[in-house]
């Protein structure tokens, strides 16, 4: 289906290590990683996105978070938030 195609396209990009789709309650809906990592990412990133979003909205209530990128030494975690779901992609860009 359309979603499968999208996810497959993303997965085939250079350096992408994993994709997770999480719903607004922190439940991972779809993932390409193993269960324990998925659960860990889902729980931690959910909290981070909530905090980031509330920060942006506290500063300007008309503003909203559109994208969040966490760059670390080993990889980059990109999070696209939506009203009900987030899409998390872990990429290693220098490879």
């Amino acid at each position: 289906m359309l979603i499968e195609e999208t996810l497959k396209r993303i997965q085939s990009q250079k350096g992408v290590q994993g994709i997770i789709i999480v719903n607004s309650e922190g439940i991972p809906i779809k993932t390409t990683l193993d269960n324990s990592s998925t659960v860990q990412y889902a729980g931690l990133i959910h909290q981070l996105v909530m905090k980031a979003r509330s920060t942006v909205r506290d500063i300007d209530p008309q503003n909203d978070l559109t994208f969040l990128r966490v760059r670390s030494k080993k990889n980059e975690i990109m999070i696209a938030p939506d009203k009900d779901y987030f899409l998390i992609v872990i990429q290693n860009p220098s490879d």
């Binding site: 396209r9 309650e25 922190g26 439940i27 659960v39 931690l44 009900d84 990429q91």
Partner: protein
């Protein structure tokens, strides 16, 4: 003057009726309710009574017109105006805004504690058991079929792809010029800033005459307070000296209570808990900071110095308990702190090497370098630096040589920690650097400063940097590789004179003590406290060069003197008639006169010739 115009005559009061009195209104106010007027003038009450016959109550009021009657006229009293001063113009502040008030509230303290929650599995709805795989799969499948899910994921997917491609296109955190990271930092301008000032907590301020850094890391500074001015000590002057923690300038960390005020003190480099101090009355006192403020032991009065102990330094020894002290009574005494009842050794600074105290030079500063444990140097009040050898066989041989250094007392004396053959002395208005081999004069010296120099020391990290303090409250930092004729950095630390100076072992912190009891702690910029490239070799070359120059000068002087002597001897042989080898003053004067006139004559002749020549040229 109040004129009461109308005073109604009242009819005879009927029996049983009372006179009515109304409350007193303001002066001139008329109270009118039923025709009763009351006015008061001062204390006098004028009562107006209105009476009405009983039988007339209820009768119809018959009103009639009548012209206005002046009843009370109170003209202004100019004499009262004299009690007031007219004030023009008057300022009246107005503000057209809302009234605000300010309150302060102190909330009740509440203790907060932070703790984290490990969120293991997302917020599964109540009917789904997260452990059950089937239920979770079913839930997930249900969500996947939801239309909003599909739409949002598609949209998010395109956004995400854009960012992924961005990452792959350019690495925004690429480090450029990674190989060239060894960029030479431009040396920052020399500067120093005051970190803390430790003030004498007593009422009567005493001078900080001695400072010593804690040997272990230098977190503490011991300062000796005393009053060195002749007969200026007052009875209520405190005798205490303090140990300060450099982080806390408000209160000293520990007090040292000697029997007489301390002039100098020194931390034991081997044992950071012990200190030794020299007192104003000549005694030596030994403290252990673990054992309180009183000295653990004090040397006996008979065996100590007869004058204030100006300098005391710990020695390097196996037991780590040896120290030696110097005083203006002309003696240098060695002590073992375990037994302060008498000194272990005594040296009298008599230059004629006879041990005669009357002719001894008073010692003001001492120098000891642990790399050369048998040699030490003493700076005297007479401006002579005496170099001594401790391990000499006889007391006469203890004094090795002297250097005639300053016009006044040598207040500071220190060998360069990197070049022990060269030492720095400070006294009168100059600072001089000497080489051990050259006894005639110093190899380098500063020009005469505007005020007296009181203390100096080398930087322990940079061989070419030394610090001096002056009586006008200025701290000078000299970098002889950079600039030699003036200090690289000159800082006015305080308005009163600075008397002591100590650099901490890391070379960055400098403490200086002032006359009013304030010990200032300064931090020197990194440029002056980090070893530069080639500094040691450059400085070694400089010292060598200067030493050689002095040697050449010395040799030349000697030659000249020899020539003079031989010439005077020759002339004595030739001229038998002469009484002494030198000309008498009269003969010198006549010779000078002759020389002068001959010079004048030749000059005049030359000028005349020139003029003649010019005239000849012009007439042609």
């Amino acid at each position: 003057v109040l004129a009461l115009v109308s005073a109604r005559s009242c009819p005879k009061p009927i029996k049983g009726e009372k006179k009515k009195r109304w409350p007193v209104p303001l002066l001139g106010e008329l109270c009118d309710s039923s025709g009763v007027w009351i006015s008061t003038v001062g204390r006098m009450e004028i009562v107006h009574v209105y009476t009405k016959l009983r039988s007339e109550f209820g009768r119809q009021c018959l009103l009639s017109d009548r012209p206005a009657e002046l009843l009370v006229d109170v003209p202004p009293d100019p004499s009262l105006a004299l009690q007031f001063i007219q004030k023009t113009p008057r300022d009246q502040a107005l503000q057209a805004c809302r009234d605000m008030s300010e309150h302060q509230v102190n909330t009740e303290r509440f203790e907060s504690d932070s703790c984290g929650i490990n969120h293991v599995e997302g917020g599964w709805p109540k009917d789904v058991n997260p452990q059950e795989v089937e239920q979770t799969i079913r839930f997930r499948k249900k969500v996947e079929k939801d239309e909003s899910y599909i739409n949002s994921i598609l949209q998010l997917g395109s956004v995400m792809e854009h960012c992924i491609r961005q990452n792959n296109a350019v690495d925004i955190y690429q480090v450029y010029f990674e190989e060239e990271e060894e960029v030479e930092e431009a040396p920052d301008a020399p500067s120093a800033k005051t970190i803390n000032v430790f003030r004498d907590p007593n009422e009567v301020k005493r001078t900080v005459t001695g400072l010593s850094w804690h040997p272990d890391g230098g977190r503490k500074l011991a300062a000796a307070y005393s009053c060195l001015e002749f007969q200026k000590t007052s009875k209520d002057m405190s005798l205490d000296s303090y140990i300060w923690d450099i982080e806390n300038p408000n209160r000293p960390e520990m007090t040292l209570k000697p029997a007489s005020s301390l002039i100098c003190l020194d931390y034991n480099p081997k044992d950071p808990h012990t200190l030794v101090g020299g007192c104003y009355n000549g005694q030596i006192a030994y403290w252990d900071t673990r054992r309180g403020s009183q000295p653990v032991e004090v040397s006996s009065v008979e065996q100590s110095h007869r004058d204030p102990v100006y300098k005391i330094i710990w020695l390097q020894s196996k037991t780590g308990t040896d120290t030696f002290s110097a005083s203006t009574d002309g003696q240098v005494l060695w002590w073992d702190v375990r037994r302060l009842s008498e000194p272990t050794e005594r040296l009298v600074l008599d230059l004629s090497r006879e041990g005669n105290l009357d002719r001894a030079l008073g010692a003001i500063s001492l120098e000891f370098e642990s790399t050369m444990p048998t040699k030490f140097m003493v700076g005297t009040e007479q401006g002579v630096v005496v170099s001594c050898n401790r391990k000499a066989k006889t007391p006469a041989e203890k004094i090795v040589c002297t250097y005639d250094s300053h016009h006044g007392p040598v207040y500071a004396l220190q060998r360069n920690p990197f070049f022990p053959k060269n030492f720095l002395t400070v006294g009168d208005w100059t600072a001089r650097i000497w080489s051990e081999d050259i006894k005639e004069s110093s190899i380098m010296w500063t020009r005469y400063q505007m005020s007296y120099l009181t203390d100096a020391c080398w930087s322990p990290v940079r061989p070419s940097v030394f610090f001096t303090v002056k009586m006008d409250g200025v701290l000078d930092v000299w970098d002889i590789l950079f600039k030699q004729n003036e200090p690289t950095l000159s800082l006015k630390v305080c308005d009163e004179a600075l008397y002591s100076l100590r650099v901490q072992d890391n070379g960055r912190l400098v403490a200086c003590g002032s006359q009013q009891g304030g010990a200032t702690l300064l931090e020197i910029s990194s440029g002056l406290s980090t070893l530069q490239k080639n500094e040691k070799s450059l400085l070694a070359a400089m010292f060598e060069r200067e030493t050689k120059r002095e040697k050449i000068l010395e040799a030349r002087q000697r030659e000249l003197r020899l020539k003079e002597r031989s010439r005077s001897e020759q002339s004595r042989e030739e001229d038998v008639g002469r009484e002494d080898g030198e000309d008498s003053p009269d003969q010198l004067i006549s010779r000078a006169q002759k020389d002068f006139y001959s010079v004048v004559e030749t000059e005049l002749r030359r000028r005349r010739d020139r003029e003649d020549q010019e005239n000849r040229v012009r007439t042609h």
